[in-house]
C-alpha cells in the first residue's frame, strides 16, 4: 500500500524548515533491525489508541468519533459512536470531544475470551461540568457491536473552560491511556492535571494521577496512597500522563509524561509514589500565576532556556517532595510531546528486543526542535535509569505519534494524529 500524503500541522512544516542545516543528532545503532512499513488504516479522524486480541483483531478509537474494530480479514466495524456521529452500531449521546479530550485510551480485558470486556476512556457530559469516564463494554460474538455499558470510573476531572495558558482551551491535559498490567491484572488509568493547580497533589481529585482498579472500578489491593487519599490512586503528582507500559520481564509499570515547555519524563511508578508535579502559586518560590496555574511559568507565553524554566517550575520538585519518584529520562530537558510508550519484544527486533519505544508528537517552542519521532530506549529493569536512547530510523515520514502498540505478530503499530495507523515491521 502506498502511503497518502497527509496534511501536517503548520508547526511541522516550519519546524522542519528551521531544522534544515542542523547536524543530525541521532544515529541508528549498527545492529538495529531494518524496518519496513504498511499503512494499515488511513483517513481516520485523530486515531488515539489501539488494543489487540491474540488473533490480530484490533480495536481502535478516534477522538471525536468513537470505537471501531479492524477484523483479521480487513473489515472495519464501527462499534460505538460519540454524540452526533453516524454509521456506528450504537451511539452514546453523552460522549463528546473538545480539545485534547474525547475518546482516548482502549484496553482489552485479560480474560476477554470469557467475559468479552473492553474498556475505553472518554469525556462524558452526563454531569455538568463534564468528566472523563472509564467505560466497560461487552463486545458481541461477531464483533458487530457493544452493549452493557458500565461506567466503572465516573469522576476523572475534565477542563471545561478555557484559561490563560498555552494550549489553554477546554479539554487540556486530559490524560487518557488505559493499560492492564500483565503482572497484577489490574487496569491502570492515566489522567491529566486539567490546567488546575490543585489537582495533581489533591487527595481526592483524580486528575494528575495513575489509578489502579479492578474490572469493576474498585481500588486495587496494594494501592498505598497517603492517608486520606482516594483508594483508587496508585500514583499522584503527575502533570499529564499519556504513556503507560510494563517492563516485559519485571513488569515494572512505567509512565511517559508531557513536560511543561521542558522535561518530558519517563518514570518508573511505585505504589503510593508522588510524581512531584505541583503547579500551585505562592509556594516553592513562586508568586501568583495566570489563572492560578504556574505550570508553564515563568513568562509562560515566551520562549526561554528550558533549564531556566525547569529551575523555577520543576517537572519533579525534589525540594518540596524529596521522596518523589525520580525520572529515568527527561528527554534531555526538552518538551516535545512525548505521549506513548511500549516495549518491543521478540527475536524479530534483533538488538531492540526488550527495548522501550516512545512516541513524540512534536512541539517546537522557542529553540526546541519539533522532534516528531520514535525513540528506542534501553531502560534499566528497575526503570530508574536509561543505558541508551536511539532515534528510530523511520520507514515512513514522521508524524504526530499518538499511540504505539506491539501487535500479536510482533510488529509495531503506530497511530498518528494525521489520521493513519501504520505498521512498522522489522526485517
Amino acid at each position: 500500500m502506498t502511503p497518502r500524503i497527509t496534511a501536517p500541522s503548520l508547526l511541522t512544516i516550519m519546524g522542519t524548515a528551521m531544522m534544515v542545516g542542523l547536524p543530525a543528532t541521532a544515529f541508528a545503532s549498527t545492529d538495529a533491525p531494518t524496518l519496513d512499513h504498511n499503512v494499515v488504516l488511513s483517513d481516520l479522524d485523530n486515531p488515539w489508541d489501539m488494543a489487540f486480541l491474540p488473533d490480530g483483531t484490533m480495536f481502535f478509537t478516534e477522538k471525536c468519533l468513537g470505537l471501531s474494530v479492524l477484523l483479521p480479514g480487513g473489515d472495519v466495524n464501527k462499534l460505538m459512536g460519540m454524540a452526533d456521529t453516524e454509521g456506528y452500531a450504537s451511539t452514546e449521546s453523552d460522549l463528546f470531544c473538545e480539545g485534547q479530550a474525547g475518546m482516548n485510551g482502549v484496553a482489552v480485558d485479560p480474560e476477554f475470551d470469557d467475559n468479552r470486556y473492553l474498556y475505553v476512556y472518554s469525556a462524558s457530559s452526563t454531569t455538568e461540568p463534564g468528566t472523563n469516564r472509564v467505560l466497560r463494554l461487552v463486545v458481541n460474538d461477531d464483533f458487530s457491536g457493544v452493549s452493557e455499558r458500565t461506567d466503572i470510573v465516573e469522576d476523572i476531572p475534565y477542563k471545561p473552560e478555557a484559561t490563560d495558558q498555552p494550549f489553554g482551551g477546554p479539554g487540556a491535559h486530559n490524560g487518557g491511556r488505559l493499560r492492564f498490567s500483565p503482572d497484577d491484572g489490574y487496569l491502570y488509568v492515566a489522567t491529566g492535571d486539567t490546567h488546575n493547580a490543585e489537582v495533581p497533589q489533591s487527595p481526592t481529585l483524580l486528575g494528575g494521577k495513575v489509578l489502579r482498579i479492578d474490572r469493576d472500578g474498585n481500588a486495587a489491593e496494594g494501592n498505598t496512597p497517603p492517608e486520606g487519599f482516594d483508594a483508587r490512586i496508585f500514583t499522584y503528582g503527575h502533570r499529564n500522563v499519556q504513556g503507560l507500559t510494563f517492563h516485559p520481564e519485571t513488569h515494572q509499570p512505567i509512565a511517559a509524561e508531557h513536560g511543561p515547555w521542558h522535561s518530558d519524563e519517563i518514570t518508573a511508578l511505585v505504589a503510593g509514589g508522588n510524581g512531584g508535579w505541583d503547579p500551585r502559586p505562592n509556594m516553592a518560590g513562586r508568586d501568583d500565576c495566570p489563572d492560578g496555574y504556574c505550570g508553564y511559568e515563568p513568562h509562560q507565553m515566551d520562549a526561554m532556556e528550558p533549564s531556566e524554566r525547569a529551575a523555577y517550575m520543576p517537572m519533579t520538585d525534589f525540594d518540596t517532595y524529596p521522596d518523589a519518584m525520580p525520572p529515568a529520562w527527561e528527554n534531555n530537558g526538552l518538551s516535545q510531546g512525548m505521549v506513548s510508550a511500549e516495549f518491543l519484544t521478540g527475536e524479530q527486533w534483533g538488538a531492540w528486543n526488550g527495548r522501550m519505544v516512545v512516541g513524540f508528537m512534536g512541539i517546537g517552542f522557542g529553540d526546541t526542535p519539533v522532534g516528531q519521532r520514535i525513540d528506542v530506549i534501553d531502560i534499566a529493569e528497575d526503570g530508574l535509569s536509561v543505558h541508551d536512547v536511539t532515534e528510530m530510523p523511520l520507514p515512513m515520514p514522521s508524524a504526530r505519534f499518538r499511540s504505539l502498540v506491539q501487535a500479536p505478530d510482533g510488529s509495531l503499530y503506530a497511530a498518528v494524529d494525521e489520521g493513519e495507523i501504520h505498521q512498522i515491521i522489522p526485517e
Binding site: L10, L11, K63, G169, D417
Partner: protein, 59 residues
Amino acid sequence: MASFPSLAGRDADYLSSRLMQYRAGEQVGPNTALMASNATDLSDEEIDNLADYMSESFH
C-alpha cells in the same frame, strides 16, 4: 475541534494572514504561544513562500 487545526484546504491568503497575526503577537487561539514563537522572525517573503507551499501541497 481538534487540538491543532488542519491545514488542508486553506488558501494562501488565509495562511499568510494567520502567520502575520502570529508574527505580530496577536492572540489567535489557544495554541498561539507555540505559533508566535516560530513566526516571530519570519520575513514577508518567507511567509508568502510558506503560505504558497502549504496551500498547494495539502488538500
